[in-house]
Symmetry: C2
Subunit: 226 residues, 2 copies
DNA sequence: ACCCTTTCGATATCCTAATATCGATATTAT
DNA sequence: ATAATATCGATATTAGGATATCGAAAGGGT
């Protein structure tokens, strides 16, 4: 256990990648892995990997060989809370909300969606992927009774702030926000944004660069196979 | 037009937030907005906002008043390519894939999904949200014929690499990857990861901190309303 | 037994993004 | 008109993450 240290957000976000690779090599029977090897596979700097691992790994790495794979897996899963699940509610059972409700992988990541909420009377009362959909009015009561601390927001942007306020009022400490809007929340409430527009912006700039590269004649033999 | 400059990824990802807020104030008839005001609303440093805006805005800001809202909107939309749409294909028509296919907001962000692909014979041939689902074998031909440069990956992680390879082989320049795995791709192909596990990691650490805070007695009056 | 190589941990350096500072300029109020 | 103030752009500084360096330790080969 090394759950008292706090990682930077960047390091934290690298952890699932380490874990994914460690699980893969573990399946292949690999017992020791070097930071160097991981760095090469994941396109990271090896010193960075070493530092990241040292933050959460309970034992030290051995020179010339590396770190024990199984132990790393345990440490990371432990650190990320994959063993003691976090209960969450979801607000907004539209097409994205349904996809998330139906995602059976979340349990592997320590997330458990216990209930969903919506204002649409056609949806309220239904059971979507084993999760019951309640009217929004029931939100506070259920969150308080079940000590829910995570809210997943999948409502249209124009309703996101009021839904967020409700979640905060229900005692939620973290909001996973899929709406394309900046939410206001008290300092102690973390808002983790999943902003597709931000990702698209990166894609768009890259493509524009690629296209102007091409028009400069750098890479014109791409389409000659046609 | 100021499309020759390249923004850092961070600045790029802030753009949609600026845009969202600018559109809101524009609807309320606001014609000039200061970087200071934007910074306050979006919880950013004002110098940072000023710098970001100066990168893409064609005119200068006026001391004591600010920047012209409409022009900023135009400039950002322009920069992000919201006016000339990028065509994309989607691979993996599962629950997430369907949600994305049904997302009618993408067109606002300059993204147009022209077709989908899957290996499941039950899905192939169907039309999902107006988009036809083709067998994977047709991928390369269609991408080359239609000059598709973006691939959206929503297959299970274990098939993601082979699907990515196919996309690369079909001439795609950017992959929007929703699978929880690190993909290998040539340098000129951008892989933009939408990794939910990474977000969950951030949530998890925050909650653990909140909980230990609480057990230290800092914030115990939260549940007294019960 | 000795050398060579790889990897480790620790420390130092670098680099980029974010923030602070400051003079200049436009607007508003007196 | 003049003073007060908010904002701007430019430049300097800070901060934090990523990377490079280096001696020490472990394993493998001869
Ligand atoms: N569909 C996608 O692929 C996708 C992807 C990323 C992000 N998003 C974002 O997620 C959000 C939802 O997208 P969607 O496509 O599922 O939309 P949707 O219209 O299919 O679903 C929205 C749901 O929210 C419910 N709702 C509306 N107001 C509510 C309120 N105040 N309280 C509770 N429920 C309310 C509606 O009844 C509806 O069921 C949007 O902000 C969208 O931008 C969607
Ligand atoms: N469901 C979610 O909420 C969610 C959210 C984020 C990320 N993801 C990720 O997105 C991916 C898809 O998730 P999902 O829930 O939609 O899964 P799913 O099982 O519902 O859908 C996967 C689809 O991919 C198809 N497929 C499998 N192999 C393929 C191949 N080689 N080529 C083309 N198609 C193939 C399958 O036939 C199926 O239709 C997973 O990697 C998952 O981790 C899912």
């Amino acid at each position: 256990m090394k759950n008292d240290v706090n990682l930077t957000v960047q390091a934290l976000q690298r952890m699932p990648y380490y874990l994914q690779h460690l699980r893969k090599v573990d399946e292949n029977g690999v017992q020791i892995i070097s930071a160097t090897a991981m760095a090469n596979v994941l396109d990271l700097n090896e010193v960075l990997v070493r530092k990241d691992l040292s933050m959460i790994c309970t034992s030290k790495g051995k020179p010339k060989s590396g770190f024990p794979v199984k132990e790393l897996i345990d440490n990371i899963e432990d650190y990320l809370g994959y063993n003691n699940t976090m209960d969450a509610v979801l607000v907004g059972v539209g097409s994205l909300g349904k996809a998330l409700l139906g995602n059976n992988e979340f349990s592997k990541f320590g997330l458990n969606i216990v209930a969903a909420f919506d204002i649409d009377e056609d949806i309220v009362g239904q059971v979507v992927c084993g999760k019951k959909v309640f009217p929004l009015e029931k939100l506070q009561n259920l969150c308080e009774r079940m000590h829910i601390h995570i809210g997943i927001l999948t409502v249209p942007a124009e309703f996101a702030q009021e839904a967020a306020d409700r979640l905060v009022g229900s005692g939620v400490r973290a909001i996973w926000n899929f709406a394309l809007i900046k939410l206001n929340a008290p300092d102690h409430v973390l808002v983790q944004n999943e902003n597709l527009a931000a990702s698209l912006a990166v894609l768009s700039q890259h493509l524009r660069n690629e296209m102007t590269e091409e028009s400069k004649g750098v890479d014109l033999n791409e389409h000659t196979a046609l």
